[in-house]
């Protein structure tokens, strides 16, 4: 029996719903969570749509005594707290926050590895202090230093440190084991899950909650993606069609907000608890793209190829054993093509037969949470023996030799490959295996 860590639960908050089952149902039905932005008025932005989470209320996921801390939670933290709560419950773990009379975990034997993006500050919170610090029409930093600072909430910084999602979860649920906060953009979740696996196999703890959280539905994030020309400027009136991974009409990505967290556990601990096992973490790999245009992949996707090769080697399988690929697939034409080339180079001729199912056409690009959501989707595909249909890939882009799943299919899935990359160049691959 393998000693590789297994996934025994998960939690997701995404634009398709506030739990895993609504996300999975949405994906199976081909629903799209991308909508016109309501978080702020997007009229002045070239891109006006996003994968938004509707009506999220973090107080449902925390004890009453913790409500006073909500004011120092950014939305990234809130979504992570929501996803972690579901993850504990789904794995049958009873923490201090869930029921203090029936705790069934040892706090020092549980770790946290929750990745985050660069948490952008709430401009509305800062603006009054900046506005009160003007000389004439311009901002005057001397005035701000003297008078404006006092208008900023004292604990302001603590909302935006990217390790705070982890810290809040650790406090709410009393999790005292090893902790880390990976901040590696869109591969943060993949990396967190990979590192957590090693923490478990090294025997430092039995259970680690790993994944990521990110809120890109924020004026600072959106303006960045618009300036980098990564966000689509089209389909504002038809958001459902906007994100088109590997499609010949792909015009750019759509950004969203989400948290996706899995419960990784040593097989021994999982067996001892008699808890349900969704998949084994069979292998992981990471590498880098080395492109002088940092925000684009190398045209041959070599960083992707190397990451996949490492993951396959660690899983001890050949390409033909893969039953499903969930690519990063952003809907940015050049990057999608490079990713397709990178996957093809790693898998060789086997690539023709392996179904490829991109999720971002429905979930949008959720930055640091993306890999967490995709790993959860992979677990559900394995569990249900189902590969849903891809969305918005009506005519495959020329040069892309991936076998995009046009129709939903029933299939016994033993191995799933999940890929990711950042704008900046880091790449990651994760392989999950069905446990019979």
């Amino acid at each position: 029996m393998s000693d590789k860590p297994v996934i025994t639960g998960f939690g997701a908050v995404s634009c398709l719903g506030q739990n895993v089952s609504s996300m999975w149902q949405g994906l199976c039905e081909g629903r799209c969570g991308i909508v016109p932005i309501t978080a702020f008025d997007p009229a002045g932005f070239p891109c006006k749509i996003a994968g938004q989470v509707a009506d999220f209320n973090v107080t449902k996921f925390i004890p009453k005594t913790y409500r006073k801390y909500v004011k120092i939670m950014s939305r990234d933290i809130e979504l992570a707290v929501g996803a972690a709560y579901e993850a504990f419950i789904s794995s049958g773990l009873i923490t201090k926050a869930i029921d203090p009379t029936k705790i069934n975990i040892n706090p020092t034997r549980v770790g946290l590895n929750v990745g985050a993006g660069m948490i952008s500050c709430d401009l509305v919170e800062l603006a009054p202090s900046a506005s009160a610090s003007k000389t004439g029409n311009r901002f005057d930093i001397r005035k701000w230093g003297k008078e404006g600072l006092e208008l900023v909430p004292p604990l302001w910084l603590l909302k935006y440190l990217p390790n705070m999602p982890s810290c809040h979860i650790s406090i709410i649920h009393d999790i005292q084991g090893p902790g880390n906060s990976i901040t590696c953009a869109e591969v943060s979740s993949h990396l967190a899950i990979s590192e957590a696996a090693l923490t478990i196999t090294r025997g430092k703890c039995d259970i680690v909650l790993a994944g990521g959280t990110d809120v890109k539905v924020n004026p600072m994030c959106l303006i960045r993606q618009c300036l980098l020309k990564r966000a689509t400027t089209e389909y504002a009136d038809n958001p459902e069609k906007a994100c088109r991974p590997f499609d010949s009409n792909a015009k750019g990505s759509v950004f969203g907000e989400a948290a996706g967290i899995v419960v990784l556990e040593s097989p021994e601990s999982a067996r001892k608890r008699g808890t349900r096992i969704y998949a084994e973490l069979a292998g992981t790999g990471q590498s880098s793209n080395l492109n002088s245009a940092y925000q684009c992949l190398e045209p041959d996707g070599k960083g992707i190829t190397v990451a996949i090769q490492k993951a396959l080697a660690e899983a001890g399988i050949g390409p033909q054993q893969l039953d499903l690929i969930i690519p990063h697939g952003l809907g940015i034409a050049a990057d999608d093509l490079a990713e397709a080339k990178g996957i093809e180079a790693a898998l060789g001729t086997a690539v023709k037969n392996i179904p490829v199912w991109p999720t971002k056409s429905m979930l949008s690009n959720n930055g640091a949470a993306a890999g967490g959501l995709d790993c959860i989707a992979a677990c559900m595909a394995i569990t249900d023996g189902v590969i849903p249909a891809a969305k918005n890939c009506d005519k495959k882009a020329s040069g892309c030799n991936l076998n995009i799943t046009m129709q939903p299919q029933k299939k016994n899935i033993n191995y799933v490959l999940i890929c990711g990359y950042t704008f900046g160049g880091q790449t990651a691959a994760v392989i999950l295996k069905k446990i019979n």
């Binding site: 020092t108 506005s131 930093i141 900023v152 705070m164 999790i175 953009a185 880098s288 704008f423 880091q426």
Partner: protein, 434 residues
């Protein structure tokens, strides 16, 4: 099979020196370079001073600087420090055809890094210009106009915390495992610790690890000021950072990058490179207590220190020197002292425990790895760096903090501890290679 993990290269860009040896001399001499902040106009801020990296020219360290020219401060320090470390470790940089015979897919990077600075002029003008103070709301149309006209794609990209890692990968051609983390002030130590684990378990032969960060920007200085974490000794910046004293009033903000090259002993021997020291243990924990305060009984730090000792397979009796987190904040220094007492028991006053933050300041994400470098040098030279400005001991804090002057001492094993806001604790143990 587990690999022994050794250090084969180090690079440092910090306020008291732009390379390892000159910084080390300044640290031993207790020669700080604190002065009024010049990166932006902080003259009316509660804290007007900082420990800046000055007169720094990254193009002196690498030929390919044009490829990295848009770097934020953290990234520019990072590439210079990485170049220094690679030269020492005989790793070829800036070439598509390296002659060093290192498998690039087994050469990885693990950095503890933070954000790059926003374009402050545009940022604050956008807020001041678009805020409708009559109706207490933002005019987003106006905000987007100002922001899209002022911000550039290049600077927006370079703010992302994974960018120092990106620049280092490009410099070295590294295709191996790649991570970046930001566990606040503990990130540098965490990065080195986790990178050592990757080498130990064969995931990489060589890891470029460390931290790079600059928070000397208006939002950073404002944020820490509002938390009352920064020293406000504006009349005497040189003595502002005074860890473990009765009159300590907060930390001294610094900036920089510190890179440590970790390598499997097998690879280092095969390549015939000089071994500087060995990493033998790493421990990590979470306080799970409060966002704003450390646990009163130092539960998390104690757990991380004990985990690192257990990981190294040694006892607290084996530690010859402790490189403290020693921030000079009231809370950290007393809780840290408590933690050391709990772990070292009746021997607590024996191992010298100093803080180089008194001299160089707090490098935030880069602090831990800069301090690990000082441990390696203490082992190499048999000399302990002092805690300077230690003139009025806090009577409740009674460890041997190596006050004011460097001290000769044989060091075989050193412990580096770092504690981050929110309760993330990381400890690395460094040993003389023999």
């Amino acid at each position: 099979m587990k690999e022994r993990v050794v250090i084969t290269g180090m690079g440092l860009v910090c306020p008291v020196g732009h390379d390892v040896e000159s910084a080390w001399q300044a640290i031993l001499a207790g020669k700080s370079s604190v002065a009024g902040t010049t990166i932006f106009d902080a003259s009316t801020f509660p804290t007007t001073f900082s420990s800046e990296v000055k007169n720094f020219d990254p193009s002196k360290y690498i030929k390919s600087w044009p490829l990295h020219k848009d770097s934020n401060r953290g990234s520019s320090f990072a590439v210079a420090a990485a170049a220094q470390a690679c030269r020492q470790a005989q790793i070829d940089i800036e070439t598509n055809n390296p002659a060093d015979k290192i498998d690039r897919t087994k050469l990885g990077i693990y950095m503890g890094c933070g954000e790059g600075s926003v374009n402050n002029e545009v940022f604050f003008d956008s807020l001041a210009g678009a805020w409708d103070s009559q109706n207490n709301k933002m005019d987003w149309l106006k905000w987007a106009q100002i922001a899209s006209a002022g911000f550039t794609a290049e600077n927006e990209l370079e703010q992302e915390p994974n960018m120092p890692t990106t620049h280092i990968a490009k410099l070295i051609g590294a295709r191996g495992p790649v991570f970046s983390c930001l566990t606040a002030c503990a990130a540098g130590t965490q990065a080195v610790g986790e990178a050592a684990i990757l080498v130990r378990h064969g995931k990489a032969d060589i890891m470029i690890s460390g931290g790079a960060h600059s928070m000397i920007h208006p939002l950073g200085m404002m944020g820490f000021s509002r938390l009352t974490a920064l020293s406000r000794r504006n009349d005497s910046p040189q003595t502002a950072s005074r860890p473990f004293t009765a009159s300590r009033d907060g930390f001294l903000m610094g900036e920089g990058a510190a890179i440590i090259i970790l390598e499997s002993l097998t690879s280092a021997k095969k390549r015939g490179v000089k071994i500087l020291a060995e990493i033998i243990g790493y421990g990590s924990s979470s306080d799970a207590f409060r966002i704003t305060d450390m646990h009163e009984e130092a539960r998390g730090p104690i757990q991380a220190m004990e985990a690192a000792l257990a990981d190294a397979g040694i006892s607290y009796n084996d530690i010859d020197y402790i490189s403290t987190h020693g921030t000079s904040t009231s809370e950290n220094d007393s809780i840290e002292t408590k933690a050391i007492k709990a772990v070292f028991k009746n021997r607590a006053t024996k191992p010298p425990a100093s803080s180089i933050k008194s001299t160089i300041g707090h490098l935030i994400g880069a602090a831990g790895s800069a301090e690990i470098i000082s441990c390696v040098l203490a082992i190499r030279d048999g000399i302990l760096p002092p805690t300077i400005n230690y003139n009025d001991p806090d009577p409740a804090l009674d460890l041997d903090y190596v006050p004011n002057k460097p001290r000769k001492a044989a060091v075989k094993t050193a412990m580096k501890e770092s504690f981050g806001f929110g309760g993330q604790n990381n400890v690395v143990i460094i040993r003389k290679y023999e």
